[in-house]
Protein backbone atom coordinates (compact mmCIF):
# COMPACT_ATOMS: atom_id res chain seq x y z
CA UNK A 1 0.00 0.00 0.00
CA UNK A 2 1.14 3.51 -0.73
CA UNK A 3 2.46 5.25 2.36
CA UNK A 4 0.10 8.20 2.34
CA UNK A 5 -2.84 5.90 1.68
CA UNK A 6 -1.78 3.94 4.72
CA UNK A 7 -2.06 7.08 6.80
CA UNK A 8 -5.45 7.93 5.35
CA UNK A 9 -6.65 4.39 6.03
CA UNK A 10 -5.43 4.46 9.62
CA UNK A 11 -6.91 7.93 10.09
CA UNK A 12 -10.31 6.82 8.75
CA UNK A 13 -10.24 3.76 10.97
CA UNK A 14 -9.51 5.84 14.06
CA UNK A 15 -12.25 8.34 13.17
CA UNK A 16 -14.65 5.43 12.79
CA UNK A 17 -13.64 3.94 16.13
CA UNK A 18 -13.75 7.36 17.78
CA UNK A 19 -17.30 7.89 16.53
CA UNK A 20 -18.27 4.43 17.78
CA UNK A 21 -16.77 5.27 21.13
CA UNK A 22 -18.56 8.61 21.28
CA UNK A 23 -21.98 7.44 20.21
CA UNK A 24 -22.28 3.79 21.27
CA UNK A 25 -24.82 3.41 24.04
CA UNK A 26 -24.78 7.15 24.66
CA UNK A 27 -28.45 7.92 24.01
CA UNK A 28 -27.13 11.18 22.49
CA UNK A 29 -27.00 12.63 25.97
CA UNK A 30 -25.43 16.05 25.48
CA UNK A 31 -25.52 16.89 29.18
CA UNK A 32 -23.05 14.42 30.59
CA UNK A 33 -22.01 11.43 28.47
CA UNK A 34 -20.95 13.18 25.26
CA UNK A 35 -18.85 15.96 26.85
CA UNK A 36 -17.29 13.44 29.17
CA UNK A 37 -16.36 11.14 26.31
CA UNK A 38 -15.09 14.06 24.23
CA UNK A 39 -12.64 14.96 26.99
CA UNK A 40 -11.45 11.36 27.16
CA UNK A 41 -11.07 11.31 23.40
CA UNK A 42 -8.94 14.43 23.54
CA UNK A 43 -6.85 12.82 26.28
CA UNK A 44 -6.32 9.75 24.08
CA UNK A 45 -5.23 11.90 21.16
CA UNK A 46 -2.85 13.91 23.31
CA UNK A 47 -1.44 10.86 25.05
CA UNK A 48 -1.08 8.98 21.77
CA UNK A 49 0.85 11.80 20.11
CA UNK A 50 3.01 12.36 23.18
CA UNK A 51 3.94 8.69 23.60
CA UNK A 52 4.54 8.14 19.88
CA UNK A 53 6.79 11.17 19.48
CA UNK A 54 8.75 10.62 22.67
CA UNK A 55 9.40 6.92 22.02
CA UNK A 56 10.33 7.32 18.36
CA UNK A 57 12.76 10.16 19.09
CA UNK A 58 14.24 8.29 22.02
CA UNK A 59 14.76 5.19 19.91
CA UNK A 60 16.40 7.27 17.21
CA UNK A 61 18.83 9.06 19.49
CA UNK A 62 19.76 5.87 21.34
CA UNK A 63 19.88 3.89 18.08
CA UNK A 64 17.91 1.06 19.61
CA UNK A 65 14.49 -0.27 18.76
CA UNK A 66 13.59 -1.84 22.07
CA UNK A 67 13.89 1.19 24.32
CA UNK A 68 11.33 3.62 25.57
CA UNK A 69 11.73 6.64 27.85
CA UNK A 70 9.46 4.89 30.34
CA UNK A 71 12.12 2.34 31.30
CA UNK A 72 14.76 5.02 31.70
CA UNK A 73 13.25 5.86 35.06
CA UNK A 74 11.10 8.80 33.96
CA UNK A 75 7.87 7.20 35.06
CA UNK A 76 9.15 6.02 38.40
CA UNK A 77 10.51 9.50 39.08
CA UNK A 78 7.06 10.87 38.33
CA UNK A 79 5.36 8.36 40.66
CA UNK A 80 7.94 9.01 43.34
CA UNK A 81 7.34 12.73 43.10
CA UNK A 82 3.58 12.29 43.52
CA UNK A 83 4.08 9.95 46.47
CA UNK A 84 6.44 12.47 48.07
CA UNK A 85 3.90 15.26 47.61
CA UNK A 86 1.19 13.20 49.29
CA UNK A 87 3.47 12.22 52.12
CA UNK A 88 4.97 15.65 52.77
CA UNK A 89 2.06 17.99 52.19
CA UNK A 90 -1.02 15.80 52.65
CA UNK A 91 -3.98 15.30 50.38
CA UNK A 92 -5.33 18.85 50.58
CA UNK A 93 -2.25 20.75 49.51
CA UNK A 94 -2.66 22.98 46.45
CA UNK A 95 0.16 21.05 44.79
CA UNK A 96 -2.12 18.00 44.53
CA UNK A 97 -5.54 19.64 44.24
CA UNK A 98 -4.61 22.15 41.56
CA UNK A 99 -4.02 19.92 38.54
CA UNK A 100 -2.30 22.60 36.45
CA UNK A 101 0.12 23.48 39.20
CA UNK A 102 0.81 19.81 39.84
CA UNK A 103 1.41 19.31 36.14
CA UNK A 104 3.85 22.21 35.83
CA UNK A 105 5.77 21.06 38.90
CA UNK A 106 6.02 17.46 37.73
CA UNK A 107 7.18 18.59 34.31
CA UNK A 108 9.91 20.64 35.94
CA UNK A 109 10.98 17.67 38.07
CA UNK A 110 11.14 15.40 35.03
CA UNK A 111 13.11 18.01 33.10
CA UNK A 112 15.53 18.15 36.00
CA UNK A 113 15.88 14.37 35.96
CA UNK A 114 16.46 14.36 32.23
CA UNK A 115 19.14 17.02 32.61
CA UNK A 116 20.82 15.00 35.33
CA UNK A 117 20.75 11.89 33.19
CA UNK A 118 22.32 13.76 30.29
CA UNK A 119 24.96 15.47 32.35
CA UNK A 120 25.91 12.27 33.99
CA UNK A 121 25.81 9.85 31.14
CA UNK A 122 26.01 11.55 27.80
CA UNK A 123 29.01 13.59 28.86
CA UNK A 124 31.16 10.51 29.34
CA UNK A 125 30.27 8.04 26.66
CA UNK A 126 27.74 8.79 24.00
CA UNK A 127 28.12 5.30 22.65
CA UNK A 128 27.41 3.21 25.64
CA UNK A 129 23.67 2.83 25.49
CA UNK A 130 23.75 -0.28 27.64
CA UNK A 131 25.41 1.52 30.48
CA UNK A 132 22.77 4.22 30.32
CA UNK A 133 20.03 1.62 30.20
CA UNK A 134 21.39 -0.02 33.32
CA UNK A 135 21.44 3.25 35.19
CA UNK A 136 17.88 3.84 34.13
CA UNK A 137 16.81 0.36 35.17
CA UNK A 138 18.47 0.63 38.57
CA UNK A 139 16.83 4.01 39.12
CA UNK A 140 13.43 2.64 38.22
CA UNK A 141 13.86 -0.34 40.54
CA UNK A 142 14.85 1.88 43.46
CA UNK A 143 12.14 4.38 42.58
CA UNK A 144 9.50 1.69 42.53
CA UNK A 145 10.48 0.34 45.92
CA UNK A 146 10.47 3.87 47.34
CA UNK A 147 7.00 4.41 45.89
CA UNK A 148 5.85 1.10 47.33
CA UNK A 149 7.17 2.21 50.69
CA UNK A 150 5.21 5.44 50.54
CA UNK A 151 2.09 3.57 49.48
CA UNK A 152 2.70 1.13 52.29
CA UNK A 153 2.88 3.84 54.91
CA UNK A 154 -0.02 5.92 53.61
CA UNK A 155 -3.61 6.02 54.83
CA UNK A 156 -6.32 4.29 52.74
CA UNK A 157 -7.46 7.61 51.22
CA UNK A 158 -3.91 8.49 50.24
CA UNK A 159 -3.41 4.95 49.00
CA UNK A 160 -6.38 5.16 46.68
CA UNK A 161 -5.07 8.43 45.24
CA UNK A 162 -1.57 7.01 44.77
CA UNK A 163 -2.78 3.79 43.18
CA UNK A 164 -4.78 5.93 40.77
CA UNK A 165 -1.52 7.47 39.69
CA UNK A 166 0.20 4.13 39.25
CA UNK A 167 -2.29 2.63 36.78
CA UNK A 168 -2.87 4.06 33.33
CA UNK A 169 -6.46 5.08 32.68
CA UNK A 170 -8.52 7.83 31.07
CA UNK A 171 -10.92 8.16 33.97
CA UNK A 172 -9.21 11.10 35.58
CA UNK A 173 -8.91 13.19 32.43
CA UNK A 174 -10.29 16.62 33.25
CA UNK A 175 -11.18 19.33 30.74
CA UNK A 176 -8.81 22.15 31.64
CA UNK A 177 -5.81 19.93 32.20
CA UNK A 178 -6.48 18.00 29.01
CA UNK A 179 -6.80 21.15 26.93
CA UNK A 180 -3.60 22.55 28.39
CA UNK A 181 -1.74 19.28 27.76
CA UNK A 182 -3.11 19.05 24.23
CA UNK A 183 -1.85 22.53 23.36
CA UNK A 184 1.56 21.86 24.87
CA UNK A 185 1.82 18.51 23.09
CA UNK A 186 1.00 20.13 19.77
CA UNK A 187 3.69 22.74 20.36
CA UNK A 188 6.35 20.17 21.29
CA UNK A 189 5.30 17.80 18.50
CA UNK A 190 5.63 20.62 15.98
CA UNK A 191 9.20 21.24 17.19
CA UNK A 192 9.98 17.56 16.71
CA UNK A 193 8.27 17.58 13.34
CA UNK A 194 10.53 20.43 12.23
CA UNK A 195 13.60 18.37 13.15
CA UNK A 196 12.37 15.21 11.43
CA UNK A 197 14.96 15.36 8.66
CA UNK A 198 17.82 15.76 11.14
CA UNK A 199 16.46 12.77 13.04
CA UNK A 200 16.44 10.80 9.79
CA UNK A 201 20.09 11.65 9.29
CA UNK A 202 20.91 10.62 12.83
CA UNK A 203 19.72 7.11 11.98
CA UNK A 204 22.65 6.76 9.58
CA UNK A 205 25.03 6.72 12.52
CA UNK A 206 26.90 9.38 14.44
CA UNK A 207 29.74 9.78 11.96
CA UNK A 208 27.57 9.98 8.87
CA UNK A 209 25.25 12.46 10.54
CA UNK A 210 28.17 14.67 11.53
CA UNK A 211 29.53 14.61 7.97
CA UNK A 212 26.15 15.65 6.67
CA UNK A 213 26.12 18.68 8.96
CA UNK A 214 24.07 17.61 11.96
CA UNK A 215 25.16 19.08 15.27
CA UNK A 216 24.60 15.86 17.15
CA UNK A 217 25.27 17.06 20.67
CA UNK A 218 22.90 19.99 20.29
CA UNK A 219 20.23 17.83 18.68
CA UNK A 220 20.46 15.24 21.45
CA UNK A 221 20.19 17.82 24.18
CA UNK A 222 17.14 19.43 22.57
CA UNK A 223 15.47 16.10 21.91
CA UNK A 224 15.98 14.87 25.46
CA UNK A 225 14.39 18.04 26.83
CA UNK A 226 11.43 17.68 24.46
CA UNK A 227 11.10 14.01 25.38
CA UNK A 228 11.03 14.90 29.08
CA UNK A 229 8.15 17.32 28.49
CA UNK A 230 6.24 14.73 26.45
CA UNK A 231 6.74 12.01 29.07
CA UNK A 232 5.57 14.41 31.76
CA UNK A 233 2.46 15.17 29.74
CA UNK A 234 1.59 11.57 28.97
CA UNK A 235 2.31 10.34 32.49
CA UNK A 236 0.36 13.06 34.25
CA UNK A 237 -2.54 12.66 31.83
CA UNK A 238 -2.79 8.87 31.60
CA UNK A 239 -0.44 7.41 34.20
CA UNK A 240 2.53 5.18 33.49
CA UNK A 241 2.28 3.28 30.21
CA UNK A 242 5.59 1.39 30.54
CA UNK A 243 6.22 -0.60 27.38
CA UNK A 244 3.38 0.77 25.29
CA UNK A 245 5.77 3.06 23.41
CA UNK A 246 7.84 0.13 22.17
CA UNK A 247 4.73 -1.53 20.82
CA UNK A 248 3.55 1.41 18.76
CA UNK A 249 7.01 2.42 17.55
CA UNK A 250 7.61 -1.08 16.21
CA UNK A 251 4.10 -1.42 14.82
CA UNK A 252 4.62 1.78 12.86
CA UNK A 253 7.94 0.55 11.53
CA UNK A 254 6.42 -2.78 10.50
CA UNK A 255 3.46 -1.19 8.75
CA UNK A 256 5.22 1.62 6.95
CA UNK A 257 8.35 -0.42 6.12
CA UNK A 258 10.18 2.87 6.19
CA UNK A 259 12.65 4.46 8.54
CA UNK A 260 11.82 8.07 7.80
CA UNK A 261 10.21 10.03 10.59
CA UNK A 262 7.91 11.77 8.13
CA UNK A 263 5.93 8.55 7.80
CA UNK A 264 6.54 6.93 11.13
CA UNK A 265 5.65 9.80 13.48
CA UNK A 266 2.04 10.23 12.32
CA UNK A 267 1.55 6.51 11.84
CA UNK A 268 2.77 5.71 15.35
CA UNK A 269 0.51 8.38 16.83
CA UNK A 270 -2.47 6.95 14.93
CA UNK A 271 -1.61 3.41 16.08
CA UNK A 272 -1.50 4.63 19.67
CA UNK A 273 -4.88 6.34 19.39
CA UNK A 274 -6.39 3.25 17.75
CA UNK A 275 -5.14 0.97 20.51
CA UNK A 276 -6.28 3.40 23.22
CA UNK A 277 -9.74 3.52 21.68
CA UNK A 278 -9.94 -0.25 21.43
CA UNK A 279 -8.82 -0.74 25.01
CA UNK A 280 -11.21 1.90 26.32
CA UNK A 281 -14.14 0.40 24.38
CA UNK A 282 -13.30 -3.02 25.80
CA UNK A 283 -13.00 -1.71 29.34
CA UNK A 284 -16.23 0.28 29.21
CA UNK A 285 -18.51 -2.14 27.37
CA UNK A 286 -17.07 -5.62 27.65
CA UNK A 287 -15.45 -5.59 31.10
CA UNK A 288 -17.80 -3.04 32.64
CA UNK A 289 -14.93 -1.13 34.31
CA UNK A 290 -13.84 -4.27 36.14
CA UNK A 291 -10.34 -3.76 34.77
CA UNK A 292 -8.28 -0.77 33.74
CA UNK A 293 -6.93 0.32 30.39
CA UNK A 294 -3.40 0.25 31.74
CA UNK A 295 -3.54 -3.42 32.65
CA UNK A 296 -5.01 -4.41 29.27
CA UNK A 297 -2.34 -2.45 27.44
CA UNK A 298 0.41 -3.92 29.60
CA UNK A 299 -0.77 -7.43 28.80
CA UNK A 300 -0.95 -6.95 25.05
CA UNK A 301 2.34 -5.00 24.96
CA UNK A 302 4.16 -7.78 26.78
CA UNK A 303 2.76 -10.42 24.46
CA UNK A 304 3.61 -8.45 21.37
CA UNK A 305 7.08 -7.65 22.58
CA UNK A 306 8.03 -11.27 23.08
CA UNK A 307 6.65 -12.21 19.68
CA UNK A 308 8.63 -9.37 18.17
CA UNK A 309 11.83 -10.55 19.85
CA UNK A 310 11.38 -14.14 18.72
CA UNK A 311 10.77 -12.97 15.18
CA UNK A 312 13.76 -10.65 15.10
CA UNK A 313 16.07 -12.74 17.21
CA UNK A 314 18.98 -12.37 14.84
CA UNK A 315 18.91 -8.59 15.07
CA UNK A 316 18.25 -8.31 18.78
Amino acid sequence: MNKSWQLVFCGLLSVLLALTYLLFDSGLDTEFILPNRLVKLLAMLTGGIAIACSTLCFQTITENRILTPAIMGYESVYLLWQALLVLLFGLNSPLLQDLQLNFVCSTLVLLGYSLLLQRWLFSRSLQDVWQMLWYGLVFSLVGSSLTQFFQYSSSPAEFSLLSQYSLASFQRAELNQTLFSALLTLLVASFIWRQRHQLDLLQLGALQAATLGVNRALLLRRQLALIAILVAISTSLLGPTAFFGILIANLSATFSRSQSHRHRLPLAALCAVLLFLLAQLLVEHLFNFKTSVGLLLQLCCGGYFFMFLIKHRQTS
Binding site: I66, I71, W130, Q131, L133, W134, Y135, L137, V138, F139, L141, V142, S145, L146, Q148, F149, Q151, Y152, P156, F159, S163, L167, A242, F243, K290, T291, S292, L295, Q298, L299, G302, G303, F305, F306, L309, I310, R313, S316
Partner: protein, 314 residues
Protein backbone atom coordinates in the same frame (compact mmCIF):
# COMPACT_ATOMS: atom_id res chain seq x y z
CA UNK B 1 43.57 -16.95 56.95
CA UNK B 2 43.72 -13.78 59.03
CA UNK B 3 41.42 -12.13 56.53
CA UNK B 4 38.79 -14.84 56.97
CA UNK B 5 39.07 -14.64 60.75
CA UNK B 6 38.47 -10.89 60.53
CA UNK B 7 35.48 -11.33 58.24
CA UNK B 8 34.10 -14.01 60.57
CA UNK B 9 34.46 -11.70 63.54
CA UNK B 10 32.62 -8.92 61.70
CA UNK B 11 29.86 -11.39 60.82
CA UNK B 12 29.48 -12.45 64.47
CA UNK B 13 29.42 -8.82 65.58
CA UNK B 14 26.66 -8.08 63.06
CA UNK B 15 24.62 -11.00 64.40
CA UNK B 16 25.12 -9.83 67.97
CA UNK B 17 24.13 -6.27 67.08
CA UNK B 18 21.02 -7.58 65.36
CA UNK B 19 20.10 -9.49 68.53
CA UNK B 20 20.66 -6.60 70.92
CA UNK B 21 19.41 -3.58 69.00
CA UNK B 22 15.74 -2.75 68.65
CA UNK B 23 12.76 -0.89 70.02
CA UNK B 24 12.82 -2.92 73.24
CA UNK B 25 16.27 -2.40 74.67
CA UNK B 26 18.02 -4.93 76.83
CA UNK B 27 21.62 -5.72 77.62
CA UNK B 28 23.66 -8.88 77.94
CA UNK B 29 23.77 -8.31 81.70
CA UNK B 30 19.98 -8.55 81.91
CA UNK B 31 20.09 -11.85 80.03
CA UNK B 32 22.73 -13.06 82.46
CA UNK B 33 20.47 -12.21 85.38
CA UNK B 34 17.73 -14.16 83.55
CA UNK B 35 15.36 -11.21 83.33
CA UNK B 36 12.11 -12.77 81.94
CA UNK B 37 11.20 -9.80 79.72
CA UNK B 38 14.63 -9.73 78.13
CA UNK B 39 14.49 -13.46 77.50
CA UNK B 40 11.01 -13.25 76.03
CA UNK B 41 12.11 -10.49 73.64
CA UNK B 42 15.12 -12.53 72.68
CA UNK B 43 13.38 -15.83 72.03
CA UNK B 44 10.14 -14.66 70.50
CA UNK B 45 11.35 -11.78 68.39
CA UNK B 46 15.10 -11.24 68.06
CA UNK B 47 16.25 -14.82 67.49
CA UNK B 48 13.50 -15.61 64.95
CA UNK B 49 14.34 -12.37 63.20
CA UNK B 50 18.05 -13.16 63.06
CA UNK B 51 17.38 -16.67 61.76
CA UNK B 52 14.98 -15.33 59.14
CA UNK B 53 17.54 -12.73 58.07
CA UNK B 54 20.35 -15.28 57.84
CA UNK B 55 18.29 -17.80 55.90
CA UNK B 56 16.61 -15.31 53.57
CA UNK B 57 19.87 -13.59 52.76
CA UNK B 58 21.69 -16.84 52.11
CA UNK B 59 18.77 -18.28 50.17
CA UNK B 60 18.27 -15.28 47.91
CA UNK B 61 21.98 -14.95 47.15
CA UNK B 62 22.19 -18.66 46.29
CA UNK B 63 19.05 -18.33 44.16
CA UNK B 64 20.76 -15.52 42.28
CA UNK B 65 23.90 -17.52 41.60
CA UNK B 66 21.92 -20.60 40.53
CA UNK B 67 19.88 -18.51 38.11
CA UNK B 68 23.07 -17.00 36.74
CA UNK B 69 24.58 -20.42 36.15
CA UNK B 70 21.44 -21.76 34.50
CA UNK B 71 21.04 -18.78 32.19
CA UNK B 72 24.78 -18.20 31.79
CA UNK B 73 24.22 -14.55 32.45
CA UNK B 74 25.51 -12.40 35.29
CA UNK B 75 22.45 -10.20 35.30
CA UNK B 76 19.97 -12.95 36.19
CA UNK B 77 18.33 -13.16 39.58
CA UNK B 78 14.83 -14.04 40.82
CA UNK B 79 13.82 -10.40 40.52
CA UNK B 80 15.03 -9.91 36.95
CA UNK B 81 13.62 -13.16 35.58
CA UNK B 82 10.02 -12.81 36.71
CA UNK B 83 10.33 -15.53 39.38
CA UNK B 84 9.17 -13.24 42.19
CA UNK B 85 6.23 -11.93 40.18
CA UNK B 86 5.18 -15.48 39.31
CA UNK B 87 5.29 -16.50 42.97
CA UNK B 88 3.20 -13.45 43.86
CA UNK B 89 0.66 -14.47 41.25
CA UNK B 90 0.61 -17.94 42.78
CA UNK B 91 -0.02 -16.59 46.29
CA UNK B 92 -2.84 -14.44 44.98
CA UNK B 93 -4.41 -17.35 43.12
CA UNK B 94 -4.25 -19.52 46.22
CA UNK B 95 -5.73 -16.76 48.39
CA UNK B 96 -8.71 -16.33 46.08
CA UNK B 97 -9.37 -19.88 44.86
CA UNK B 98 -8.66 -21.71 48.11
CA UNK B 99 -9.91 -19.40 50.85
CA UNK B 100 -8.70 -20.40 54.28
CA UNK B 101 -6.02 -22.70 52.89
CA UNK B 102 -3.08 -23.63 55.08
CA UNK B 103 0.16 -21.70 54.66
CA UNK B 104 1.87 -24.77 53.23
CA UNK B 105 -0.80 -25.13 50.53
CA UNK B 106 -0.46 -21.48 49.55
CA UNK B 107 3.28 -21.92 49.39
CA UNK B 108 2.93 -25.00 47.22
CA UNK B 109 0.79 -23.09 44.71
CA UNK B 110 3.31 -20.23 44.70
CA UNK B 111 6.12 -22.73 44.19
CA UNK B 112 4.37 -24.35 41.23
CA UNK B 113 3.67 -21.00 39.59
CA UNK B 114 7.25 -19.92 40.11
CA UNK B 115 8.56 -23.19 38.68
CA UNK B 116 6.37 -23.00 35.59
CA UNK B 117 7.29 -19.40 34.94
CA UNK B 118 11.05 -19.98 35.36
CA UNK B 119 10.89 -22.94 33.01
CA UNK B 120 9.08 -20.88 30.42
CA UNK B 121 11.55 -18.03 30.78
CA UNK B 122 14.56 -20.31 30.39
CA UNK B 123 13.06 -21.91 27.28
CA UNK B 124 12.37 -18.46 25.91
CA UNK B 125 15.89 -17.20 26.56
CA UNK B 126 17.39 -20.31 24.99
CA UNK B 127 15.23 -19.81 21.94
CA UNK B 128 16.12 -16.14 21.64
CA UNK B 129 19.90 -16.51 21.91
CA UNK B 130 20.43 -12.89 22.89
CA UNK B 131 23.32 -11.10 21.33
CA UNK B 132 23.61 -8.63 24.19
CA UNK B 133 23.78 -10.14 27.63
CA UNK B 134 22.46 -6.97 29.19
CA UNK B 135 19.17 -7.51 27.41
CA UNK B 136 18.20 -10.32 29.75
CA UNK B 137 17.17 -8.24 32.78
CA UNK B 138 15.14 -5.96 30.55
CA UNK B 139 13.33 -8.95 29.09
CA UNK B 140 12.91 -10.41 32.55
CA UNK B 141 11.50 -7.19 33.97
CA UNK B 142 9.13 -6.96 31.05
CA UNK B 143 8.08 -10.56 31.54
CA UNK B 144 7.65 -9.88 35.24
CA UNK B 145 5.54 -6.83 34.50
CA UNK B 146 3.23 -8.93 32.31
CA UNK B 147 2.88 -11.48 35.10
CA UNK B 148 2.21 -8.83 37.70
CA UNK B 149 -0.28 -7.19 35.32
CA UNK B 150 -2.21 -10.47 35.30
CA UNK B 151 -1.97 -10.60 39.09
CA UNK B 152 -3.11 -6.99 39.44
CA UNK B 153 -5.94 -7.52 36.96
CA UNK B 154 -7.14 -10.30 39.18
CA UNK B 155 -6.55 -8.42 42.43
CA UNK B 156 -8.30 -5.36 41.00
CA UNK B 157 -11.43 -7.39 40.37
CA UNK B 158 -11.30 -9.11 43.76
CA UNK B 159 -10.52 -5.87 45.66
CA UNK B 160 -7.27 -7.35 46.91
CA UNK B 161 -4.92 -4.69 45.55
CA UNK B 162 -4.09 -3.22 48.93
CA UNK B 163 -3.53 -6.55 50.67
CA UNK B 164 -1.18 -7.54 47.86
CA UNK B 165 0.91 -4.53 48.79
CA UNK B 166 2.21 -6.47 51.79
CA UNK B 167 3.85 -8.98 49.49
CA UNK B 168 5.56 -6.36 47.40
CA UNK B 169 7.99 -4.97 49.90
CA UNK B 170 10.04 -7.19 52.17
CA UNK B 171 9.54 -6.54 55.85
CA UNK B 172 10.99 -8.41 58.82
CA UNK B 173 8.89 -6.75 61.48
CA UNK B 174 6.21 -9.43 61.04
CA UNK B 175 8.69 -12.18 61.89
CA UNK B 176 7.91 -13.57 65.35
CA UNK B 177 8.06 -17.07 66.81
CA UNK B 178 5.25 -19.23 65.45
CA UNK B 179 4.85 -17.37 62.15
CA UNK B 180 8.12 -17.69 60.34
CA UNK B 181 9.07 -21.37 60.55
CA UNK B 182 8.56 -21.89 56.82
CA UNK B 183 11.85 -20.09 56.28
CA UNK B 184 13.80 -23.04 57.71
CA UNK B 185 13.05 -24.83 54.45
CA UNK B 186 15.84 -22.74 52.95
CA UNK B 187 18.55 -24.36 55.08
CA UNK B 188 18.45 -27.86 53.52
CA UNK B 189 18.06 -26.31 50.08
CA UNK B 190 21.20 -24.19 50.45
CA UNK B 191 23.07 -27.27 51.68
CA UNK B 192 21.73 -29.22 48.71
CA UNK B 193 22.99 -26.54 46.28
CA UNK B 194 26.38 -26.76 47.96
CA UNK B 195 26.35 -30.55 47.53
CA UNK B 196 25.92 -30.03 43.79
CA UNK B 197 28.28 -27.03 43.62
CA UNK B 198 30.65 -28.72 41.14
CA UNK B 199 27.74 -29.61 38.90
CA UNK B 200 26.35 -26.10 38.94
CA UNK B 201 29.77 -24.66 38.14
CA UNK B 202 29.90 -26.82 35.02
CA UNK B 203 26.30 -25.95 34.21
CA UNK B 204 27.42 -22.36 33.74
CA UNK B 205 29.65 -23.41 30.85
CA UNK B 206 26.77 -24.20 28.57
CA UNK B 207 24.87 -27.28 27.47
CA UNK B 208 27.49 -28.65 25.08
CA UNK B 209 30.50 -28.42 27.32
CA UNK B 210 28.60 -29.59 30.38
CA UNK B 211 27.20 -32.52 28.40
CA UNK B 212 30.60 -33.57 27.09
CA UNK B 213 31.96 -33.45 30.64
CA UNK B 214 29.39 -36.07 31.61
CA UNK B 215 26.70 -33.94 33.16
CA UNK B 216 22.99 -34.66 32.85
CA UNK B 217 22.13 -31.17 31.73
CA UNK B 218 18.32 -31.38 31.72
CA UNK B 219 18.02 -33.01 35.12
CA UNK B 220 20.40 -30.51 36.63
CA UNK B 221 18.44 -27.57 35.25
CA UNK B 222 15.29 -29.09 36.73
CA UNK B 223 17.02 -29.45 40.09
CA UNK B 224 18.25 -25.86 39.97
CA UNK B 225 14.80 -24.58 39.08
CA UNK B 226 13.20 -26.55 41.88
CA UNK B 227 15.71 -25.17 44.38
CA UNK B 228 15.22 -21.59 43.20
CA UNK B 229 11.43 -21.81 43.10
CA UNK B 230 11.18 -23.28 46.60
CA UNK B 231 13.54 -20.76 48.13
CA UNK B 232 11.80 -17.82 46.42
CA UNK B 233 8.36 -19.06 47.46
CA UNK B 234 9.29 -19.63 51.09
CA UNK B 235 11.08 -16.30 51.47
CA UNK B 236 8.22 -14.47 49.78
CA UNK B 237 5.68 -16.13 52.07
CA UNK B 238 7.48 -15.19 55.26
CA UNK B 239 9.09 -11.80 54.60
CA UNK B 240 8.04 -10.53 51.16
CA UNK B 241 10.10 -9.50 48.17
CA UNK B 242 13.62 -8.15 48.66
CA UNK B 243 15.26 -6.87 45.49
CA UNK B 244 18.93 -6.82 44.42
CA UNK B 245 20.33 -9.46 46.82
CA UNK B 246 20.66 -12.18 44.20
CA UNK B 247 22.00 -9.70 41.68
CA UNK B 248 24.64 -7.91 43.73
CA UNK B 249 26.07 -10.51 46.10
CA UNK B 250 27.20 -13.14 43.55
CA UNK B 251 28.90 -10.38 41.52
CA UNK B 252 30.62 -9.04 44.60
CA UNK B 253 31.92 -12.48 45.60
CA UNK B 254 32.92 -13.40 42.04
CA UNK B 255 35.11 -10.31 41.92
CA UNK B 256 37.17 -11.58 44.85
CA UNK B 257 36.89 -15.36 44.75
CA UNK B 258 36.21 -16.32 41.16
CA UNK B 259 33.47 -18.51 39.75
CA UNK B 260 34.20 -21.94 41.19
CA UNK B 261 31.07 -22.55 43.23
CA UNK B 262 32.60 -25.26 45.40
CA UNK B 263 34.75 -22.50 46.84
CA UNK B 264 32.54 -19.48 46.46
CA UNK B 265 29.06 -20.79 47.31
CA UNK B 266 29.52 -20.69 51.12
CA UNK B 267 30.95 -17.20 50.78
CA UNK B 268 28.02 -16.15 48.63
CA UNK B 269 25.55 -17.51 51.18
CA UNK B 270 27.31 -15.84 54.12
CA UNK B 271 27.73 -12.53 52.29
CA UNK B 272 24.04 -12.60 51.38
CA UNK B 273 23.20 -13.11 55.04
CA UNK B 274 25.60 -10.37 56.14
CA UNK B 275 24.16 -8.01 53.53
CA UNK B 276 20.61 -8.53 54.79
CA UNK B 277 21.64 -8.22 58.44
CA UNK B 278 23.36 -4.90 57.77
CA UNK B 279 20.42 -3.63 55.74
CA UNK B 280 18.10 -4.69 58.54
CA UNK B 281 20.21 -2.88 61.14
CA UNK B 282 20.11 0.19 58.93
CA UNK B 283 16.36 0.04 58.55
CA UNK B 284 15.93 -0.38 62.31
CA UNK B 285 18.26 2.47 63.22
CA UNK B 286 17.45 5.15 60.64
CA UNK B 287 14.07 6.11 62.10
CA UNK B 288 14.58 4.66 65.57
CA UNK B 289 12.34 3.47 67.31
CA UNK B 290 10.28 2.98 64.12
CA UNK B 291 11.57 0.88 61.28
CA UNK B 292 11.67 1.07 57.52
CA UNK B 293 10.75 -2.06 55.51
CA UNK B 294 13.92 -3.87 54.56
CA UNK B 295 12.84 -4.02 50.92
CA UNK B 296 13.54 -0.30 50.74
CA UNK B 297 16.92 -0.21 52.45
CA UNK B 298 18.09 -3.32 50.61
CA UNK B 299 17.13 -1.82 47.27
CA UNK B 300 18.91 1.47 48.04
CA UNK B 301 22.11 -0.18 49.28
CA UNK B 302 21.97 -2.80 46.52
CA UNK B 303 21.48 -0.14 43.87
CA UNK B 304 24.50 1.80 45.11
CA UNK B 305 26.63 -1.36 45.01
CA UNK B 306 25.39 -2.26 41.55
CA UNK B 307 26.07 1.24 40.23
CA UNK B 308 29.59 1.10 41.62
CA UNK B 309 30.09 -2.25 39.82
CA UNK B 310 28.85 -0.68 36.62
CA UNK B 311 31.30 2.19 36.95
CA UNK B 312 34.26 -0.11 37.46
CA UNK B 313 33.79 -3.24 35.34
CA UNK B 314 35.83 -6.20 36.55
Amino acid sequence: MLKYLGLGAIFCLLCLASLLLGAKQFSLAQLWQSDPVAWLTLTSSRLPRLMALLLTGAGLAVCGVLMQQMLQNRFADPGTTGAIDAAKLGILLAMVLLPGAAVTVIMLVALLCCLASCLFFILLINKLQLRHRQLLPILGLMYGSVLSAIAELYAYQQQLLQSMQGLLLGDFSKVIAGQYELIYLILPLVLCSYWFAHHFTLLGMGQQLAGSLGLRYQQLVWLGLLLVATMVASSLMTVGAIPFVGLVIPQLVARHCGDHLAQSLPKIALSGAAFLISCDLLSRLLLYPYEIPIGLTASCVGALLLLSFLRTPA
